[in-house]
Protein backbone atom coordinates (compact mmCIF):
# COMPACT_ATOMS: atom_id res chain seq x y z
CA UNK A 1 0.00 0.00 0.00
CA UNK A 2 1.33 3.48 -0.77
CA UNK A 3 2.45 5.67 2.05
CA UNK A 4 1.48 9.34 1.81
CA UNK A 5 3.25 11.95 3.89
CA UNK A 6 3.01 15.72 4.12
CA UNK A 7 5.87 17.71 5.53
CA UNK A 8 3.79 20.13 7.58
CA UNK A 9 6.39 22.86 7.73
CA UNK A 10 6.36 23.18 3.97
CA UNK A 11 2.59 23.08 3.37
CA UNK A 12 1.07 26.42 2.35
CA UNK A 13 -2.51 25.13 2.36
CA UNK A 14 -2.93 25.88 -1.32
CA UNK A 15 -5.49 23.06 -1.47
CA UNK A 16 -4.21 21.69 -4.79
CA UNK A 17 -3.64 18.19 -3.42
CA UNK A 18 -7.13 18.16 -1.91
CA UNK A 19 -8.59 19.19 -5.22
CA UNK A 20 -6.58 16.92 -7.50
CA UNK A 21 -6.63 13.68 -5.53
CA UNK A 22 -9.01 11.32 -7.31
CA UNK A 23 -9.62 9.24 -4.18
CA UNK A 24 -9.93 12.11 -1.67
CA UNK A 25 -6.96 11.11 0.44
CA UNK A 26 -6.43 14.69 1.65
CA UNK A 27 -8.52 17.17 3.55
CA UNK A 28 -7.81 20.70 4.69
CA UNK A 29 -7.30 21.00 8.43
CA UNK A 30 -9.87 23.36 9.98
CA UNK A 31 -8.18 26.30 11.68
CA UNK A 32 -4.71 25.38 10.40
CA UNK A 33 -3.03 26.37 7.19
CA UNK A 34 -2.15 22.90 6.01
CA UNK A 35 -3.55 19.81 4.34
CA UNK A 36 -3.63 16.46 6.09
CA UNK A 37 -3.73 12.85 5.02
CA UNK A 38 -7.07 11.38 6.10
CA UNK A 39 -7.60 8.32 3.88
CA UNK A 40 -4.17 6.96 3.14
CA UNK A 41 -5.65 3.52 2.52
CA UNK A 42 -7.54 4.91 -0.48
CA UNK A 43 -4.37 6.12 -2.19
CA UNK A 44 -3.96 4.50 -5.58
CA UNK A 45 -0.44 5.82 -6.03
CA UNK A 46 -1.16 8.04 -9.01
CA UNK A 47 1.25 10.64 -7.53
CA UNK A 48 -0.73 13.55 -8.98
CA UNK A 49 -0.36 15.32 -5.63
CA UNK A 50 3.43 14.94 -5.70
CA UNK A 51 3.73 16.46 -9.16
CA UNK A 52 1.29 19.25 -8.39
CA UNK A 53 2.48 20.34 -4.93
CA UNK A 54 4.19 23.74 -5.36
CA UNK A 55 6.04 23.38 -2.03
CA UNK A 56 7.30 19.88 -2.83
CA UNK A 57 6.31 18.80 0.65
CA UNK A 58 4.46 15.66 -0.39
CA UNK A 59 5.93 12.20 -0.71
CA UNK A 60 4.27 9.01 -1.87
CA UNK A 61 6.24 5.83 -1.40
CA UNK A 62 5.49 2.23 -2.26
CA UNK A 63 3.36 3.62 -5.03
CA UNK A 64 1.81 1.04 -7.32
CA UNK A 65 -1.56 1.12 -8.98
CA UNK A 66 -3.29 -1.21 -6.58
CA UNK A 67 -6.93 -0.75 -7.40
CA UNK A 68 -9.09 -0.89 -10.49
CA UNK A 69 -8.87 2.88 -10.78
CA UNK A 70 -11.27 3.19 -13.68
CA UNK A 71 -14.02 1.28 -11.89
CA UNK A 72 -14.36 3.74 -9.07
CA UNK A 73 -17.34 5.98 -9.70
CA UNK A 74 -15.68 9.22 -8.73
CA UNK A 75 -12.69 8.44 -10.91
CA UNK A 76 -14.83 7.50 -13.86
CA UNK A 77 -16.46 10.93 -13.57
CA UNK A 78 -13.03 12.52 -13.39
CA UNK A 79 -11.80 10.65 -16.47
CA UNK A 80 -14.93 11.61 -18.32
CA UNK A 81 -14.29 15.25 -17.43
CA UNK A 82 -10.72 15.07 -18.63
CA UNK A 83 -11.65 13.33 -21.84
CA UNK A 84 -14.30 15.97 -22.55
CA UNK A 85 -16.90 13.62 -23.88
CA UNK A 86 -18.74 16.49 -25.54
CA UNK A 87 -16.81 17.16 -28.75
CA UNK A 88 -15.45 20.67 -28.96
CA UNK A 89 -17.17 21.21 -32.31
CA UNK A 90 -20.61 20.75 -30.74
CA UNK A 91 -19.94 23.74 -28.58
CA UNK A 92 -19.26 26.00 -31.56
CA UNK A 93 -21.89 28.16 -33.11
CA UNK A 94 -22.39 29.43 -36.66
CA UNK A 95 -20.50 32.61 -35.82
CA UNK A 96 -17.44 30.51 -34.86
CA UNK A 97 -17.59 28.61 -38.15
CA UNK A 98 -17.90 31.84 -40.10
CA UNK A 99 -14.91 33.28 -38.31
CA UNK A 100 -12.87 30.11 -38.92
CA UNK A 101 -13.83 30.20 -42.60
CA UNK A 102 -12.71 33.80 -42.84
CA UNK A 103 -9.34 32.80 -41.37
CA UNK A 104 -9.07 30.00 -43.91
CA UNK A 105 -9.80 32.44 -46.73
CA UNK A 106 -7.01 34.72 -45.57
CA UNK A 107 -4.59 31.81 -45.24
CA UNK A 108 -5.40 30.44 -48.69
CA UNK A 109 -4.95 33.81 -50.31
CA UNK A 110 -1.70 34.47 -48.44
CA UNK A 111 -0.36 31.08 -49.55
CA UNK A 112 -1.30 31.64 -53.20
CA UNK A 113 0.11 35.16 -53.18
CA UNK A 114 3.37 34.01 -51.59
CA UNK A 115 3.74 31.29 -54.23
CA UNK A 116 3.14 33.81 -57.00
CA UNK A 117 5.49 36.36 -55.49
CA UNK A 118 8.33 33.88 -55.11
CA UNK A 119 7.78 31.59 -58.06
CA UNK A 120 6.25 33.88 -60.65
CA UNK A 121 5.18 31.77 -63.63
CA UNK A 122 6.54 28.69 -61.89
CA UNK A 123 3.40 28.73 -59.73
CA UNK A 124 1.58 26.86 -62.48
CA UNK A 125 3.89 23.88 -62.20
CA UNK A 126 3.31 23.82 -58.44
CA UNK A 127 -0.47 23.74 -58.93
CA UNK A 128 -0.14 20.93 -61.46
CA UNK A 129 2.16 18.93 -59.16
CA UNK A 130 -0.33 19.39 -56.33
CA UNK A 131 -3.01 17.86 -58.59
CA UNK A 132 -0.73 14.92 -59.39
CA UNK A 133 -0.05 14.34 -55.70
CA UNK A 134 -3.69 14.69 -54.70
CA UNK A 135 -4.69 12.12 -57.33
CA UNK A 136 -2.94 9.41 -55.34
CA UNK A 137 -5.47 9.99 -52.53
CA UNK A 138 -8.43 9.25 -54.81
CA UNK A 139 -7.67 5.71 -56.04
CA UNK A 140 -11.30 5.11 -57.06
CA UNK A 141 -10.85 7.61 -59.90
CA UNK A 142 -8.32 5.38 -61.60
CA UNK A 143 -10.99 2.78 -62.24
CA UNK A 144 -12.18 4.38 -65.47
CA UNK A 145 -10.34 5.62 -68.51
CA UNK A 146 -13.43 7.14 -70.15
CA UNK A 147 -13.27 10.92 -69.77
CA UNK A 148 -17.07 11.23 -69.44
CA UNK A 149 -17.12 8.75 -66.53
CA UNK A 150 -14.04 10.33 -65.05
CA UNK A 151 -15.58 13.80 -65.06
CA UNK A 152 -18.78 12.40 -63.52
CA UNK A 153 -16.66 10.81 -60.78
CA UNK A 154 -14.77 14.02 -60.14
CA UNK A 155 -18.02 15.98 -59.98
CA UNK A 156 -19.37 13.59 -57.36
CA UNK A 157 -16.11 13.73 -55.44
CA UNK A 158 -15.97 17.53 -55.26
CA UNK A 159 -19.66 18.39 -55.06
CA UNK A 160 -19.25 19.81 -51.55
CA UNK A 161 -16.70 22.37 -52.68
CA UNK A 162 -17.80 23.20 -56.20
CA UNK A 163 -20.13 22.00 -58.90
CA UNK A 164 -19.55 21.81 -62.62
CA UNK A 165 -21.06 20.60 -65.86
CA UNK A 166 -18.60 18.80 -68.11
CA UNK A 167 -18.71 18.58 -71.88
CA UNK A 168 -16.27 16.04 -73.25
CA UNK A 169 -15.59 16.03 -76.97
CA UNK A 170 -15.98 12.68 -78.67
CA UNK A 171 -12.25 12.06 -79.01
CA UNK A 172 -11.61 13.24 -75.46
CA UNK A 173 -9.03 15.83 -76.54
CA UNK A 174 -11.05 18.77 -75.20
CA UNK A 175 -13.03 18.99 -71.98
CA UNK A 176 -15.09 22.08 -71.18
CA UNK A 177 -16.17 22.68 -67.60
CA UNK A 178 -18.80 25.19 -66.53
CA UNK A 179 -18.79 26.05 -62.85
CA UNK A 180 -22.12 27.41 -61.59
CA UNK A 181 -20.73 27.40 -58.06
CA UNK A 182 -17.26 27.22 -56.58
CA UNK A 183 -16.06 27.65 -53.01
CA UNK A 184 -13.17 29.75 -54.30
CA UNK A 185 -15.52 32.40 -55.74
CA UNK A 186 -16.43 33.42 -52.21
CA UNK A 187 -12.81 33.41 -51.08
CA UNK A 188 -11.63 35.45 -54.03
CA UNK A 189 -14.42 38.05 -53.99
CA UNK A 190 -14.14 38.43 -50.20
CA UNK A 191 -10.51 39.42 -50.75
CA UNK A 192 -11.44 41.95 -53.43
CA UNK A 193 -9.98 39.95 -56.32
CA UNK A 194 -11.44 39.06 -59.69
CA UNK A 195 -12.83 35.55 -60.03
CA UNK A 196 -10.86 33.55 -62.58
CA UNK A 197 -7.76 35.70 -62.73
CA UNK A 198 -6.86 35.61 -59.02
CA UNK A 199 -3.73 33.69 -58.06
CA UNK A 200 -5.82 31.23 -56.12
CA UNK A 201 -7.99 30.53 -59.17
CA UNK A 202 -4.90 30.04 -61.35
CA UNK A 203 -3.47 27.58 -58.85
CA UNK A 204 -6.75 25.69 -58.72
CA UNK A 205 -7.02 25.51 -62.54
CA UNK A 206 -3.59 23.94 -62.76
CA UNK A 207 -4.42 21.66 -59.84
CA UNK A 208 -7.49 20.43 -61.69
CA UNK A 209 -5.50 19.94 -64.90
CA UNK A 210 -3.01 17.91 -62.84
CA UNK A 211 -5.81 15.75 -61.47
CA UNK A 212 -7.31 15.15 -64.91
CA UNK A 213 -3.91 14.31 -66.35
CA UNK A 214 -3.08 11.89 -63.56
CA UNK A 215 -6.36 9.99 -63.83
CA UNK A 216 -6.54 9.90 -67.64
CA UNK A 217 -2.84 9.33 -68.29
CA UNK A 218 -2.94 12.20 -70.81
CA UNK A 219 -1.44 15.67 -70.45
CA UNK A 220 -4.34 18.08 -70.08
CA UNK A 221 -3.61 21.78 -69.93
CA UNK A 222 -5.76 24.86 -69.34
CA UNK A 223 -6.48 26.17 -72.83
CA UNK A 224 -9.09 28.81 -72.25
CA UNK A 225 -10.96 30.52 -69.47
CA UNK A 226 -14.03 32.74 -69.51
CA UNK A 227 -15.41 34.28 -66.34
CA UNK A 228 -18.52 36.08 -67.47
CA UNK A 229 -21.22 35.21 -64.93
CA UNK A 230 -19.67 31.84 -64.18
CA UNK A 231 -16.29 30.26 -64.86
CA UNK A 232 -16.07 28.28 -68.09
CA UNK A 233 -12.81 26.46 -68.57
CA UNK A 234 -11.51 24.52 -71.50
CA UNK A 235 -8.88 21.84 -70.96
CA UNK A 236 -7.02 20.38 -73.91
CA UNK A 237 -4.58 17.57 -74.36
CA UNK A 238 -1.19 19.09 -74.91
CA UNK A 239 0.37 18.37 -78.29
Amino acid sequence: MPTVQIEEAGCRDCGLCVEICPTKVFEETPGKKLAKVVREEDCIGCTSCVYLCPSRCLTVTEAKLQRPFHRMESNAALVSRFLQQIPATQQLGQADYDEALKDTHVRLKALADALKEIMGRGQKAVGRSAGNLAAAHMPEMYETTQMTDLMAGLRKRFVHAFDFDAKVEADGTTVTLIFPSCALHKVVTAQGEIVGSANLCELFHEYFAGLMSAFSGKSYTVANLATVGQCTMKFQIRN
Binding site: G122, K124, A125, V222
Partner: protein, 126 residues
Protein backbone atom coordinates in the same frame (compact mmCIF):
# COMPACT_ATOMS: atom_id res chain seq x y z
CA UNK B 1 8.69 15.47 -92.16
CA UNK B 2 9.87 15.34 -88.55
CA UNK B 3 7.47 16.57 -85.90
CA UNK B 4 8.40 19.37 -83.52
CA UNK B 5 9.09 16.90 -80.72
CA UNK B 6 11.30 14.77 -83.00
CA UNK B 7 13.25 17.87 -84.05
CA UNK B 8 13.76 18.88 -80.44
CA UNK B 9 14.69 15.36 -79.51
CA UNK B 10 17.35 15.43 -82.26
CA UNK B 11 18.72 18.72 -80.97
CA UNK B 12 18.93 17.29 -77.44
CA UNK B 13 20.72 14.16 -78.72
CA UNK B 14 23.17 16.45 -80.46
CA UNK B 15 23.72 18.35 -77.23
CA UNK B 16 24.30 15.17 -75.25
CA UNK B 17 26.69 13.87 -77.89
CA UNK B 18 28.70 17.10 -77.84
CA UNK B 19 30.48 16.18 -74.63
CA UNK B 20 30.79 13.00 -72.58
CA UNK B 21 30.28 15.17 -69.50
CA UNK B 22 26.72 16.00 -70.54
CA UNK B 23 24.65 13.29 -68.88
CA UNK B 24 21.21 14.27 -70.08
CA UNK B 25 18.97 17.11 -71.18
CA UNK B 26 15.29 18.01 -71.43
CA UNK B 27 13.05 20.80 -72.65
CA UNK B 28 10.32 21.64 -70.19
CA UNK B 29 7.37 24.01 -70.62
CA UNK B 30 6.64 26.71 -68.04
CA UNK B 31 3.54 24.82 -66.89
CA UNK B 32 5.65 21.80 -66.04
CA UNK B 33 5.39 19.51 -69.08
CA UNK B 34 8.26 17.58 -70.60
CA UNK B 35 8.40 18.63 -74.25
CA UNK B 36 11.44 16.55 -75.25
CA UNK B 37 13.95 14.63 -73.22
CA UNK B 38 17.13 12.58 -73.29
CA UNK B 39 17.37 12.19 -69.53
CA UNK B 40 18.86 9.07 -67.91
CA UNK B 41 16.28 6.32 -67.35
CA UNK B 42 16.40 6.58 -63.57
CA UNK B 43 15.29 10.24 -63.59
CA UNK B 44 11.61 10.90 -62.81
CA UNK B 45 10.74 13.13 -65.77
CA UNK B 46 7.49 14.37 -64.29
CA UNK B 47 9.19 15.51 -61.13
CA UNK B 48 12.08 17.10 -62.99
CA UNK B 49 9.72 19.00 -65.29
CA UNK B 50 7.77 20.40 -62.32
CA UNK B 51 10.93 21.40 -60.50
CA UNK B 52 12.54 22.93 -63.58
CA UNK B 53 9.46 25.03 -64.32
CA UNK B 54 9.32 26.14 -60.68
CA UNK B 55 13.01 27.01 -60.74
CA UNK B 56 12.62 28.97 -63.94
CA UNK B 57 9.85 30.93 -62.22
CA UNK B 58 12.02 31.59 -59.17
CA UNK B 59 14.95 32.52 -61.42
CA UNK B 60 12.83 35.02 -63.31
CA UNK B 61 11.53 36.54 -60.09
CA UNK B 62 14.94 36.87 -58.45
CA UNK B 63 16.44 38.27 -61.62
CA UNK B 64 13.76 40.91 -62.02
CA UNK B 65 13.69 41.81 -58.31
CA UNK B 66 17.43 41.99 -57.71
CA UNK B 67 18.80 42.82 -61.13
CA UNK B 68 15.79 44.40 -62.79
CA UNK B 69 16.53 42.30 -65.84
CA UNK B 70 15.43 39.18 -67.67
CA UNK B 71 16.72 35.84 -66.45
CA UNK B 72 18.91 33.90 -68.85
CA UNK B 73 20.31 31.00 -66.91
CA UNK B 74 20.25 29.24 -63.55
CA UNK B 75 22.83 26.68 -62.57
CA UNK B 76 23.14 24.42 -59.58
CA UNK B 77 26.38 22.80 -58.51
CA UNK B 78 26.32 19.63 -56.45
CA UNK B 79 29.01 17.16 -55.38
CA UNK B 80 28.26 15.00 -58.39
CA UNK B 81 27.86 17.62 -61.08
CA UNK B 82 25.87 20.54 -62.41
CA UNK B 83 22.30 21.24 -63.46
CA UNK B 84 22.01 24.11 -65.92
CA UNK B 85 18.66 25.69 -66.74
CA UNK B 86 18.44 28.02 -69.68
CA UNK B 87 15.32 29.82 -70.91
CA UNK B 88 14.21 28.78 -74.40
CA UNK B 89 11.82 31.20 -76.07
CA UNK B 90 9.14 32.71 -73.89
CA UNK B 91 7.62 29.62 -72.32
CA UNK B 92 10.18 26.82 -72.09
CA UNK B 93 13.40 25.93 -70.36
CA UNK B 94 16.30 23.69 -71.31
CA UNK B 95 17.57 21.53 -68.46
CA UNK B 96 21.08 20.09 -68.82
CA UNK B 97 22.74 17.65 -66.42
CA UNK B 98 26.52 17.36 -66.43
CA UNK B 99 29.16 15.47 -64.49
CA UNK B 100 31.35 17.29 -61.97
CA UNK B 101 34.30 17.30 -64.37
CA UNK B 102 32.44 19.19 -67.08
CA UNK B 103 34.08 22.33 -68.43
CA UNK B 104 31.29 24.75 -67.76
CA UNK B 105 32.43 27.30 -70.31
CA UNK B 106 32.13 24.73 -73.09
CA UNK B 107 28.81 23.51 -71.73
CA UNK B 108 27.48 27.08 -71.72
CA UNK B 109 28.54 27.64 -75.34
CA UNK B 110 26.88 24.39 -76.36
CA UNK B 111 23.74 25.26 -74.37
CA UNK B 112 23.53 28.69 -76.00
CA UNK B 113 23.84 27.20 -79.47
CA UNK B 114 21.23 24.49 -78.83
CA UNK B 115 18.84 26.97 -77.21
CA UNK B 116 18.86 29.01 -80.42
CA UNK B 117 18.06 25.88 -82.42
CA UNK B 118 15.33 24.85 -79.98
CA UNK B 119 13.85 28.36 -80.08
CA UNK B 120 13.64 28.12 -83.88
CA UNK B 121 11.96 24.70 -83.69
CA UNK B 122 9.38 26.04 -81.23
CA UNK B 123 8.75 29.19 -83.29
CA UNK B 124 8.35 27.17 -86.50
CA UNK B 125 5.62 25.03 -84.98
CA UNK B 126 3.73 27.90 -83.31
Amino acid sequence: MASRTEKMQDILRGLRGASPDIIGAAVVSIDGFIVASVLPAEVDEELVSGMAAAMLGVGERISSELMASVMEQVYVRSEKGYVVLNAVGADSVLVVLTSKDAKLGLVFIEVKRRCAELGKAIAASA
